[in-house]
């Protein structure tokens, strides 16, 4: 098996200690850095699909994302000399009045692992904080808003409304969280809804490419 294929396989099973060495071996073998990165992104897609299908659980997804992050560290010096492989910047946060961060962090990892540059603005963030982050970061292609409480569903709507009313353009808005449904996402004018972190990454790629 080529080292680049091994990188993918070891990311899938979350081998945090093995991935950095394998990434270096793949580079030494002559694979291009962007191809190795793509192999890891492909690996994380497998992880996301397995999570969405209920075949694996949160720890398995976290450890895979950590393995990829360690591999990316090794790749960074080589990637800087190549054309960008980024899908753009994603601003992510939990809306005002909500301190839940677990789901938001998982989505952050999975969308980041799909090839976006992530800007995590944290929890309990007012609409103007999302707008500020969109303005202050380059190439924002996606805004991801999370709400875990029924009490913060109105804040989710307020956030989407404020972003639309700001006049800023060039990005899509994806929403999610336990009480959020596809119907609610549509009602408040979001571009997409994802029920879990694995499908959020797929949906993110799909709507940004559309």
């Amino acid at each position: 098996m080529a080292k680049i294929d091994e990188v993918k396989e070891q990311v899938i099973i979350g081998k945090t200690k093995m991935v950095p060495g394998l990434v270096q071996a793949a580079l030494d073998e002559g694979s291009a850095a962007k191809d190795i990165l793509q192999a890891m992104i492909d690996g994380m897609k497998v992880v996301g699909d397995r999570f969405s299908a209920g075949e694996i659980y949160v720890p398995e997804m976290l450890i895979a994302a950590k393995a990829m992050a360690k591999g990316v560290e090794v790749l960074k010096p080589s990637l800087s000399g190549e054309a960008s492989t980024s899908l753009g910047t994603c601003v992510i946060g939990t809306v005002e009045g909500d301190l839940h961060d677990i789901g938001k962090n998982l989505v952050n990892m999975m969308i980041g692992s799909a090839g976006f540059d992530m800007v995590d603005i944290g929890v309990d963030q007012a609409p103007d904080k999302f707008i500020e982050a969109i303005k202050n970061n380059k190439n924002v292609k996606l805004v991801a808003c999370s709400a875990l409480l029924t009490t913060t569903l109105p804040a989710l709507k307020k956030t989407v409304d404020a972003i639309r009313e700001s006049g800023l353009q060039g990005f899509k808005i994806i929403v999610g969280g336990a009480p959020v449904t596809a119907q609610f996402a549509e009602e408040i004018g979001a571009d997409a809804y994802a029920p879990d972190a694995g499908s959020a990454a797929e949906k993110a790629k799909e709507i940004v490419a559309a």
Partner: protein, 338 residues
């Protein structure tokens, strides 16, 4: 007409209940407490609690708790500055359980409210939170905690042992002083869609500690263990049965409760199936509530099921929702039990 406790026992034993158990009614034993259950003792009283809009405080375990004015409840703070455990392999250097050695006079202060409980009507129910898993992620944050199960399993097991030993010592004091009949213990084990851990991992880390803890309560005469866990955990029900849980409170609709009753009824009962997310909303109406209560009652039937809001204590986020559910359950009782 059966008393509330008799009716609950008939329901969970497959006997002859004369109505639906109405949410938390059989555990509602302390009118002075926020959830209606016994929540006070010297150990809990000594652990600082943060109030809404107040500055963050450190609880008895050193976990910083914050409650901003615009959110409905307090949360542990897990930025790098505030995590208690930053390196799981070094937990012994930083984790110090709260003291348990209070004089008898301190315990005696809480006994009048136990004596005041009408034991013919309701159970002396002690509310407990957090659980073992929750205590772990309160100390280090959820992400670090879940990764540690893979990277440093022995350190996690050692910390679980430490937490469990402390909880067993606490349980002994509660039994010695309050002789509780029911323990309602919180520990959320999943999200709305899946358990946090795989069943194998859950079994490896949590089954034995919980068997010891809940088994001890049973040895000391506690009649019922009610475990609150408002998440998807249908895949963990066999372990709940093994650890002697009598009632799983908080089973959300994604668990397919009616199927669980068919599969496990008689070994464990299910309390919930009326999700906060569906009825406890800004735009709630009595009609919406009745629609969800009707579905739950009709699908799940009269045995091994207690219709209840899924949150872990009586009440609701929006005023009036809990009482609206109670009225709807009474209505279903009249319809289905006469």
């Amino acid at each position: 007409m059966l008393t509330k406790r008799q009716n609950l026992l008939e329901t969970i034993r497959g006997g002859k209940p004369d109505r639906f158990v109405n949410q938390y009614e059989a555990f509602d034993c302390d009118p002075g407490s926020i959830f209606g259950m016994i929540m006070g003792d010297p150990i809990a009283a000594a652990s600082p609690r943060v109030g809404r809009g107040e500055p963050p405080v450190k609880d008895g375990w050193g976990v910083t708790r914050a409650w901003p004015p615009n959110v409905p409840g307090a949360f542990p703070v897990h930025d790098e500055e505030h995590k208690v455990v930053k390196d799981i392999t070094q937990w012994e250097k930083v984790v110090k359980a709260p003291r348990l050695d209070y004089p008898q006079s301190e315990w005696d202060k809480f006994k009048p409210k136990i004596a005041a409980v009408d034991r013919n009507e309701v159970f002396v129910t002690i509310f407990g939170a957090p659980g073992i898993f929750e205590q772990l992620h309160y100390l280090m944050g959820m992400d670090d905690c879940l990764i540690a199960f893979y990277e440093e399993p022995q350190a996690v097991k050692d910390l679980i042992q430490y937490v469990t030993d402390w909880k067993l010592s606490y349980a002994k004091l509660l039994c010695d002083n309050f002789a509780p009949e029911v323990i309602l213990q919180h520990d959320d084990w999943g999200s709305h869609r899946s358990s946090f851990l795989s069943p194998d991992m859950f079994e490896e880390f949590f089954l034995e500690p919980y068997k010891k803890w809940y088994g001890y309560y049973k040895e000391r005469g506690v009649q019922l263990i009610v475990h609150h866990n408002d998440s998807y955990s249908a895949n963990l029900v066999p372990f709940m049965i093994e650890m002697k849980v009598d009632i799983w409170q908080g089973c959300v609709t994604t668990n397919n409760v009616s199927e669980l009753i068919k599969k496990y009824g008689g070994k464990i009962s299910f309390m919930g199936d009326i999700d906060n997310g569906l009825v406890d909303r800004e735009d709630w109406t009595q009609e919406l509530v009745e629609q969800h209560v009707r579905r739950a009652c009709e699908e799940n039937g009269k045995h091994y099921f207690i219709p209840c809001i899924t949150q872990g204590g009586k009440g609701s986020v929006y005023d009036g929702v809990y009482d609206a559910i109670s009225r709807a359950i009474d209505k279903m009782s009249k319809e289905m039990f006469n």
